[in-house]
């Protein structure tokens, strides 16, 4: 395509092509500290004009690629970097079979991983980003990749996608220079990307052993309740994009995860409280 960039995020390499220069320039800026990929990419993403003339007239970005959804709505050209993010997520969600994918954020300390799963708005991305400012290594804010053979978690540290109030919250913790451009009026509201820190990028190929699973829920009075393996299993099948197609291998990997790793549902009113709760739960691990 006319404009293109290669990106390697953790173990996954993408090729993103675009009809316009803008989205590629924005991606290059957002991922400027990442080592460029070598070899053949795992996935191709295309940011295309839905019709040839839509390249110039009321330009809007249609997300296509190796794997796509038939009725995806086009995005405003100004939100091209969001389109690329959606495209990369879709490739993994629909095409990836090497790992069990959990829709979760994750951080690492001492070779052990904390996995946080929950709906959009639960605060898992913000919590991971804040923990990364307190000595944890950010592994990712979207997908945790569970190795089917070893059970280890692999990092997928793409730029953290922060929405609305979470942007202001993170500006309290990290300098403005770490952020990408502000996108307003996206389907998800106001959106800004946060570049992962140097540690997250330098160690993005290092796996970690899952040690604790949390289901955070922002905006509630402080409460922590242990969750049994059966409930964790069911909730994580819902949080996995490829549990069903993986068949037996997915079942085995998930069973191993939920029986080996303690799980806690964590309600919290604000981020500082959540960090305190996480540290307490982490310290109490065997």
């Amino acid at each position: 395509m006319r404009h293109a960039i290669g990106l390697k995020i953790g173990p996954v390499a993408f090729r993103v092509g675009s009809d316009w220069a803008g989205p590629i320039a924005a991606l290059a800026d957002l991922y400027r500290d990442y080592p460029p990929p070598t070899g053949v990419p795992d996935y191709t993403v295309r940011l295309e004009a839905a019709r040839p003339w839509r390249r110039w007239i009321r330009p809007s970005v249609t997300v296509r690629g190796d794997h796509m959804l038939p009725d995806a709505l086009p995005l405003d050209l100004a939100h091209g970097v969001l389109a690329a993010e959606i495209g990369m997520n879709l490739q993994l969600a629909l095409g990836e079979r090497r790992w069990l994918l959990l829709h979760a954020s994750s951080v690492e300390r001492d070779g052990r991983a904390l996995i946080m799963s929950g709906e959009s708005g639960s605060g898992k991305s913000t919590l991971a980003a804040v923990l990364a400012t307190r000595g944890w290594r950010l592994m990712g804010d979207e997908f945790a990749l569970i190795d089917l053979a070893t059970g280890a978690a692999r990092a997928f540290p793409r730029a953290t996608s922060l929405k609305n109030g979470a942007i202001d919250e993170m500006l309290r913790h990290v300098p403005d220079a770490r952020f990408g451009a502000a996108l307003t009026g996206t389907p998800k509201g106001r959106l800004r990307h946060l570049r992962p820190d140097a540690q997250a990028i330098a160690r993005m190929d290092a796996p970690a052993i899952p040690a604790l699973i949390l289901f955070p829920q922002f905006g509630r009075p402080e409460a922590a309740e242990a969750m049994g393996p059966a409930e964790t299993f069911v909730r994580l099948t819902q949080a996995s994009t490829n549990y069903v197609p993986l068949g037996r291998a997915g079942y085995d990997a998930l069973t191993r995860l939920v029986t080996a790793v303690p799980t806690v549902a964590v309600d919290y009113p604000d981020t500082d409280t959540a960090v305190g709760m996480v540290e307490q739960l982490w310290a109490a691990l065997p």
Partner: protein
């Protein structure tokens, strides 16, 4: 460098890829995904020395293909259980038949819907049994439903409520409105049993059906994959009695063209008379290679011409006019 041509060459002879650099690999793999040939290509590249990043792609595609195979066989088993009490012959078609029959065309093949063929006289009973076993209508639109029932070679598609998988129930292999009229009774009478009680078409009819599906129906979307099926089917069954069999179904020209194209693209072993492309064949080849190294559809004019052709094949002019009128009016609503 042309990704579609590279894909065809490497499917035919995987050793061709030894000279590829990374950009050429990238374009070919992307074209393979777009043409739903990723699993097939992965299978062809098994045991071939490839760069590490290509090996990672190949492993992922191979796992995906193995899963599709497992789901397809399971879906066939579900249909078998639902239809067994009726005692009607149930003939698997296309991809599911290839994997169930252990055929070369099934190796790594991507499989979407389950396609079965049953006797037309039993269609109502089959439909009722499937609905009772959890399948549901996909197309609630009365025009579409009536169109299928009156003019198509299959029931309107059904989808299973809990497994989310589609089944196409055929009573013959071409729409009744198409000019050739295959002998559906003969297809079923000569079908061969599979170990579990399901059936598949006999070897020659499998080729006839694949050729009909590729050339006498539809707009050639997925043409490279369908032609690969034909290459593999001919490789296993040969062509000794093929022309005679095709003639009995009124599909001699389609099978001959499929044979010529398979020879031209994949080097299939075919009779001498099928080893030269006609001028019209070259248009089909041009259409089949209309994908680029980004997986994009190219050659818009050629594609559109084949889209128009697909409707022309399926409908006499007055019927086509009425169909387009209904579809256009609905588009306006």
């Amino acid at each position: 460098m042309n990704a579609a041509r590279d894909l065809v060459a490497v499917l035919a002879d995987p050793a061709q890829a030894a000279a590829f650099d990374d950009p050429r690999w990238t374009g070919m793999l992307c074209a393979a995904v777009a043409e739903r040939l990723a699993g097939t290509l992965a299978e062809r590249l098994a045991g071939v020395a490839v760069p590490d990043t290509v090996a990672a792609w190949r492993d992922n595609a191979a796992v995906q293909a193995a899963q599709e195979r497992r789901s397809a066989l399971w879906e066939a088993e579900m249909a078998r259980r639902a239809l067994a009490p009726l005692g009607v012959p149930v003939v698997l078609l296309k991809g599911t038949a290839y994997v169930a029959g252990g055929l070369a065309a099934g190796r790594g093949r991507s499989i979407g819907d389950l396609d079965i063929l049953v006797p037309r006289a039993k269609l109502d009973a089959v439909e009722a049994a499937l609905l009772a076993a959890g399948w549901e209508w996909v197309k609630p639109d009365p025009y579409d439903d009536a169109y299928y029932r009156q003019w198509m070679h299959e029931l309107p598609p059904l989808i299973h409520a809990s497994r989310d998988r589609m089944i196409d129930v055929h009573h013959t292999i071409l729409p009744p409105t198409a000019r050739p009229t295959p002998d559906a009774d003969l297809l079923i009478a000569d079908s061969v049993p599979l170990p579990d009680g399901l059936r598949m078409l006999c070897a020659d009819d499998r080729i006839v059906h694949a050729a009909a599906h590729l050339l006498a129906d539809g707009d050639m979307a997925g043409g490279l994959r369908n032609l690969w099926d034909i290459h593999c089917l001919i490789g296993e069954a040969g062509t000794d009695k093929l022309a005679a069999r095709a003639a009995r179904h009124g599909l001699g020209p389609a099978v001959a063209r499929a044979g010529r194209l398979a020879h031209a693209l994949y080097g299939t072993d075919v009779p001498v008379t099928w080893r030269r492309l006609t001028v019209a064949d070259r248009l089909f080849r041009r259409r089949m290679l209309a994908v680029d190294g980004w997986g994009r559809d190219v050659r818009r004019g050629t594609r559109f011409a084949f889209y128009v052709r697909s409707h022309w094949l399926r409908m006499p002019p007055l019927m086509l006019a009425r169909h387009l009128w209904v579809k256009w009016r609905r588009g306006k609503q």
